[in-house]
Every structure is written in structure tokens, then in C-alpha cells.
């Protein structure tokens, strides 16, 4: 098993001097993901906080081949790169056994929403790629618009709470299950607070032949509105409340990787976050109740899926 001390001595493929916010979860996620392979790596990155803040002109935080994709097509870009290398191998231009890894990266806006068809196409065609979505529950880089990953009841700039609305009215889209429905060899959900879980899943994803997908919950102090020192605490609470279950699906077989000894009420995750503050007003009590019920339903369903 990998030791943190050894991982710390590896060269960083994403380096210091990036412009991501104080307390941002994104760099923690990629610190692990990028260590999970030692092969040469090519990355296509959809626009969003990660892309913008790591490549502020004329500098870059990437110590690895990296392509800026448009918002909607990181998966198509990396699929094209993978196909090109395959063709170069076929033509004998590079050795057949040369190992290169291909990674597509996007936020929830660039993955759940506008990039979904590119991703669906790329995995359906069976490209040998890994795609990592860092889900910070909003279009963070453009000021916090709602996405289809934004939780029910959250206040976002395009689903603001107020006298006419209790925040976002729709339940979040379950993207991981959508990827599972593509019958790809590997799909998983993870979180940066459990580094072994994230590292192991990223390693499995890179080692998988064919498409692999990772969906990682990413805390965002700016849009979630909490004290920026508390990100890892919140990530832990998301797992303990079962709001963000850690699980993986290998060739159709579900495995839940973390089952809290005591499932905590969703309130504990919601309370420290300003985007949910209004839910604690008396008139919004039914929203809170509905939130808890839906989380319970989803968790029960996941446990059932695991038992098959």
C-alpha cells in the first residue's frame, strides 16, 4: 500500500503558484490523482476553475502535457488524442508497447451539463481514457450559477433563495449512475478526505483498459460559503451523512467503500454552509425533511445495488 511519505517525495505534476482560492478542494484531488500513474500523461481540461486558475497568462502550473479544451468537449479532446496515439502505434511511428495515459478533466458544469454528450460519446466508443469530474456543485468560476449537480435547496445565483423560492427546486442528477449505465469497465465516486480511497480508485482507473470514470466531490469555500479551514471536515461529513457515498462499480458490480458506523443527519453537513442557511428558517422545515428522505432513499438503493 502506498505511504504518504513516499507519495510526498514524488515530483508534482501540478505545482505551486496556481490561483485557486484559499482552502479550495481542487488541488488536493489532483495531488492524489496525478500520483496514481507514473506513465507519461496527457491531460485535456475543460474550462472552469481548475483550467483558468492554473494557466493564468503567461504561466502554467502543469508539469505535464496539458491541453486547454473548451467548456463542452474535454472528453472529445482526450478521446481524439488517444485515437491519434493508437494510430501512430499502428503505423509504427512510436513503439507499440509505449505506455501513455490519457486523462480528461472537468468540473460539474463541464461534465454533468454541457460536456455530457462528449463524455457519453467518448466512453461509448470505448476509448482507453480516464475522465475525472471534480464536482463542486456549481459553476464556480463564473460566480456560482446552479448546475445539475447543485444540491436540492441550495441557494445559487441562478436559483436564489428568497420570498418566492427556497433555493434550487430540483434534486441533483446522478451522473455516476449515468456513466455506469454506459456499461464501462470502471466507474467510481470518491472524496479528497480519504486519500487512500481516491488514490486507489485513480490507480484502478488508469490501469483499466478502456474508459474509466471518477466523480470526486470537491469542497468550495467560495460558493458553499463556509470557513475555508473546514473543507476536509465537510468532506468527511458528506460521507458520514451519506450525501456523497464512496463506491465503485467494476464491470457492473457495485461495491460501497465506506459505510459510516453511525449515519449522521444531513443537517450536520448543511449547517456550516451559507448556501443552505435559509433552510433553517421555520417555513423551510419541509425542504429539510424532504432532503433527508431523499438521501435515505438514495443510500438504501445503493446498498441494494451492492447486494446483487
Amino acid at each position: 500500500m502506498a505511504k504518504l511519505k513516499d507519495l510526498a517525495s514524488m515530483e508534482d505534476r501540478l505545482v505551486a503558484g496556481h490561483g485557486l482560492c484559499l482552502g479550495c478542494g481542487i488541488p488536493l484531488i489532483f495531488k492524489m490523482v496525478l500520483r496514481a500513474t507514473e506513465d507519461p500523461l496527457i491531460i485535456a481540461n475543460a474550462t472552469g476553475c481548475l483550467e483558468v486558475c492554473t494557466t493564468i497568462f503567461p504561466r502554467t502550473s502543469w508539469n505535464v502535457t496539458w491541453i486547454h479544451s473548451a467548456f463542452e468537449n474535454a472528453a472529445a479532446t482526450i478521446a481524439g488524442v488517444e485515437a491519434m496515439y493508437k494510430s501512430l502505434k499502428r503505423k509504427g511511428r512510436i513503439p507499440k508497447d509505449k505506455k501513455i495515459k490519457f486523462l480528461g478533466v472537468g468540473g460539474d458544469g463541464g461534465t454533468y451539463d454541457i460536456g455530457l454528450q462528449a463524455l457519453s460519446g467518448a466512453v461509448e466508443r470505448g476509448h482507453d481514457i480516464v475522465y475525472v469530474c471534480y464536482d463542486n456543485n456549481a459553476y464556480a468560476n463564473t460566480g456560482g450559477q446552479r448546475s445539475s449537480a447543485t444540491p436540492f435547496g441550495a441557494s445559487a445565483t441562478t436559483s436564489p433563495e428568497g420570498s418566492q423560492s427556497p433555493g434550487k427546486l430540483q434534486w441533483r442528477k446522478d451522473l455516476t449512475k449515468i456513466l455506469v449505465a454506459h456499461n464501462i469497465p470502471y466507474a467510481a465516486q470518491s472524496s479528497p478526505h480519504r486519500w487512500q480511497d481516491l488514490y486507489n480508485k485513480a490507480k484502478k482507473a488508469f490501469e483499466t483498459e478502456g474508459p474509466a470514470f471518477l466523480n470526486v466531490l470537491c469542497f468550495c469555500p467560495t460558493e458553499w460559503k463556509y470557513d475555508e479551514s473546514q473543507g476536509i471536515r465537510l468532506a468527511q461529513l458528506a460521507a458520514d451523512t451519506c450525501i456523497w457515498p464512496l463506491y465503485e462499480v467494476e464491470s457492473g458490480k457495485y461495491k460501497v467503500n465506506y459505510k459510516p458506523k453511525e449515519k449522521k443527519p444531513v443537517l450536520e453537513w448543511l449547517k456550516p454552509q451559507g448556501r443552505f442557511r435559509h433552510l433553517f428558517k421555520e417555513e423551510n422545515a419541509p425542504i429539510l425533511e424532504e432532503f433527508q428522505k431523499q438521501v435515505d432513499r438514495d443510500w438504501e438503493e445503493l446498498l441494494k445495488l451492492e447486494s446483487f
Binding site: K5, K31, V64
Partner: protein, 104 residues
């Protein structure tokens, strides 16, 4: 170093100077608090290195040695997550000094 303008970029806006963002000193963002490392309490668990968003934990010869204030933004995650019995990283007040933010 000469002034960086778009004229120096390779055609196709390819940046060949991989990792040159290390010239951006994000430590200048700190506003009023900074972490302090207390070596004798440290159990070398590397959680601070793992959880630091700004790559600001100094590691040398396989040991955590302190904070790199050139990059530390003072977010406080390292201190919250430090699990040693007596904290090995504590947040302390810091006088704010206005600085340039770019290494020449």
C-alpha cells in the same frame, strides 16, 4: 528575467515553460494569519502536506520541516487537520505586509 508578454509565446499559444507558475508567490495573499510549525510535536503523518491546497508544506529528506511562506495563503486547513496530541501547526496573527507577488 525579461518582461513576459504575448509576443514571447510560441505560435499556437503553447507554453513550453512547464510549471512556471512557481513564480507566482501566492503567499502574498495571506491576510492576518499564518501557520506556525512546532517540530517537537510533529508525528510526521504528512496530513498537512496532503491537504495543503497551495503546495506550501516543506518536505526535506522524507520529513515535514515547516511552511513555505512564499506560497502559504493562510487558509488554516493544515492546522485543523493536524492530528498530533499537541497541535504541530497552529495559526498565529501576522502583520500584513504589502508585497509584489512576483519573483524576478
Amino acid at each position: 528575467m525579461s518582461k513576459e508578454t504575448w509576443k514571447e509565446l510560441t505560435i499556437g499559444t503553447i507554453n513550453l515553460d512547464a510549471g512556471n507558475s512557481v513564480k507566482n508567490l501566492t503567499g502574498t495573499w495571506r491576510s492576518g494569519k499564518k501557520p506556525e510549525f512546532i517540530e517537537e510535536n510533529c508525528i510526521q503523518c504528512f496530513f498537512c502536506w496532503l491537504y495543503c491546497p497551495h503546495f506550501a508544506i516543506l518536505v526535506k529528506d522524507g520529513e515535514v520541516k515547516g511552511i513555505n511562506y512564499d506560497y502559504c495563503t493562510g487558509c488554516g486547513i493544515c492546522s485543523v487537520e493536524c492530528p498530533s496530541k499537541e497541535k504541530s501547526i497552529v495559526m498565529v496573527k501576522e502583520e500584513i505586509e504589502l508585497a509584489g507577488g512576483s519573483k524576478k
